[in-house]
């Protein structure tokens, strides 16, 4: 099934009078793995934030699973790993298990209560992510890689249909980064989970993503990775040599 998971029409966003996104129109289908790339300040994270309702667009519309964003309720279907959490309070007194369990709140109606089934789901995802042994450790005591795994487990605990990752591997060493992306790729392949990955790492995004969205306030390129390799617009931006290097790594 290839329904539209995200549909964006004529989206524009401005912050304090300066334009951040201009007339964005695109759609993401079930099972797509979209890498969102572009220079600093190109609006990558802003686009994600608009999709999630964290920023209010000036113009345009967004639909999630066929429902207008502002009336979307099925948050259980979306797993989100934001960029900013790398700056969160390292002394926050929450265990890994408590943080992962928070992810289950999106599937609950008020009063949002947990039960023993939830504890089993939390244990299952921690087992899958290889963090069950550290379930009682404080989140702030973990290394960057383990913390990201814990936060990814939080995003995945509801078995979401759409996973949105905003620069998830910044400050991780190459080995941890590799294993992190492998987990995401496996989910995309085995469960057909739709993935939206914001990254500044244009050189390696093709290793994982099947589609590429190159953003610089507006969409410069959106299409398959194969087409990207022959795109003249991309040749103009990257230069033929760099484009060739990126594509050779695919």
């Amino acid at each position: 099934m290839h329904g539209e998971v995200i549909s964006i029409e004529g989206l524009s966003f401005a912050y304090q009078g300066s334009e951040v996104l201009r007339d964005i129109t695109c759609a993401v289908k079930t099972g797509d793995y979209v890498g969102i790339v572009g220079p600093n300040g190109s609006g990558k994270s802003t686009l994600i934030r608009c999709i999630l309702g964290l920023n209010r667009p000036v113009n345009g519309s967004i639909s999630l699973f066929g429902v207008p964003q502002n009336s979307f309720q099925e948050w259980k279907r979306i797993g989100y790993l934001p960029q900013g959490l790398q700056l969160f309070n390292p002394n926050f007194p929450a265990t890994v298990a408590e943080v992962v369990k928070l992810g289950l709140l999106s599937g609950k109606k008020a009063p949002k209560r947990f039960d023993h089934v939830d504890s089993a789901a939390v244990d299952r995802i921690m087992e899958l992510m290889g963090i069950i042994a550290i379930k009682n450790k404080l989140i702030g005591e973990l290394s960057g890689g383990l913390r990201q795994r814990a936060l990814l487990a939080r995003a995945l605990v509801n078995d979401p249909d759409l996973l949105i990752l905003d620069e998830p591997t910044t400050a991780l060493d190459p080995e941890t980064r590799e294993s992190f992306y492998q987990v995401i790729k496996d989910l995309n392949r085995t469960k057909n989970t739709t993935v939206l990955l914001v990254t500044h790492d244009t050189a390696t995004v093709g290793l994982y993503a099947s589609r590429l969205l190159y953003l610089d306030k507006r969409i410069i390129y959106y299409g398959s990775f194969e087409d990207f390799c022959t795109s003249l617009e991309m040749t103009e931006i990257f230069g033929g040599h760099a484009q060739h290097l990126i594509c050779r790594r695919h």
Binding site: Q73, K76, F88, P93, E98, L102, S106, P111, L138
Partner: protein, 272 residues
């Protein structure tokens, strides 16, 4: 004097019950406020109670009604803090500063109109838990049940917005509504706490048990339970110690609270 003899005094029994309940509320809410960097909201709202107490004294309102009359003022001020921060696009601490200074200024003007600072006003400024009446105790019990049940009902939402507001939004939590609930519950608790430690020291009762708990806690629920334990121990210890050696109760409670914080801080350093 035997320990059991002390417990036979009705005013001490009331102080122990009211003090324990209010310490529990302050300790629970304190963890959320400290982690959300809203620690000083208690201070700001306490200063508003000063204004409302001065007004009540100006109109010669009785003690219990002074407490009840403070509730709408403090709730409105709590709403004012949130609205000023939102509409004037300023940080929460500046909004707290505006409302806090307005409360103090109003209090000073009204106290001056009432003929200056008198004994009643000082008992609110510095606390007088031993003078809690039976009616005030009933008000404390009712508000305790209301605040604690509300915290229990929204506990997971409060935890979620404390951990990360944006993640909470993407979990379908109405963050603004939960923020309002937290601030309004704090406002009610501040009104209750003014008789325990006094307007000047309320924020310490919100902050110190929480920060002491955060030194040792190995989880969020653990932080809440430890905070409650520290809050209750300091209030009960403060009541007994101040009664025995004839010291001001509110200040003694806060000093014991600080000592507990210093001990937990040292333990954390030793533990590494």
């Amino acid at each position: 004097m035997q320990f059991t003899d002390i417990l036979q005094y009705a005013f001490l029994q009331r102080a122990i019950i009211a003090g324990t309940l209010i310490a529990m509320l302050c300790s629970v809410l304190g963890v959320f406020l400290v982690l959300r960097r809203l620690s000083l909201i208690g201070d700001g709202l306490a200063h508003v109670t000063f204004g409302s107490v001065a007004m009540a004294l100006l109109f010669s309102v009785s003690s219990v009604y002074t407490t009840i009359a403070a509730i709408p003022f403090v709730l409105l001020s709590a709403i004012g803090i949130l609205k000023i921060a939102e509409k004037a696009r300023i940080y929460g601490d500046a909004a707290i500063g505006i409302v806090s200074s307005l409360g103090i200024a109003t209090g000073i003007l009204l106290a001056s109109l009432a003929g200056g600072f008198n004994v009643d006003l000082f008992s609110y400024l510095f606390g007088n838990i031993l003078s809690i009446s039976r009616t005030e105790l009933i008000v404390a019990v009712v508000l305790f049940v209301v605040v604690l049940m509300t915290v229990g009902f929204f506990f997971n939402e409060l935890f979620a917005i404390t951990f990360d507001e944006e993640l909470a939004v993407t979990s379908g939590i109405r963050v603004e509504r939960i923020n309002w609930i937290l601030v309004l519950l704090t406002a009610l608790t501040v009104v209750l706490a003014m008789k325990v430690v006094g307007i000047m020291l309320i924020s310490a009762l919100l902050i110190l048990p929480a920060v002491a708990a955060l030194q040792l806690a190995r989880g969020f629920k653990a932080a809440i339970f430890l905070s409650v334990a520290f809050g209750v121990v300091s209030v009960l210890g403060g009541i007994f110690f101040s009664f025995i050696v004839n010291l001001p109760t509110g200040a003694t409670i806060i000093i014991i609270n600080f000592i507990l914080f210093a001990i937990t801080f040292a333990l954390r350093k030793i533990r590494g």
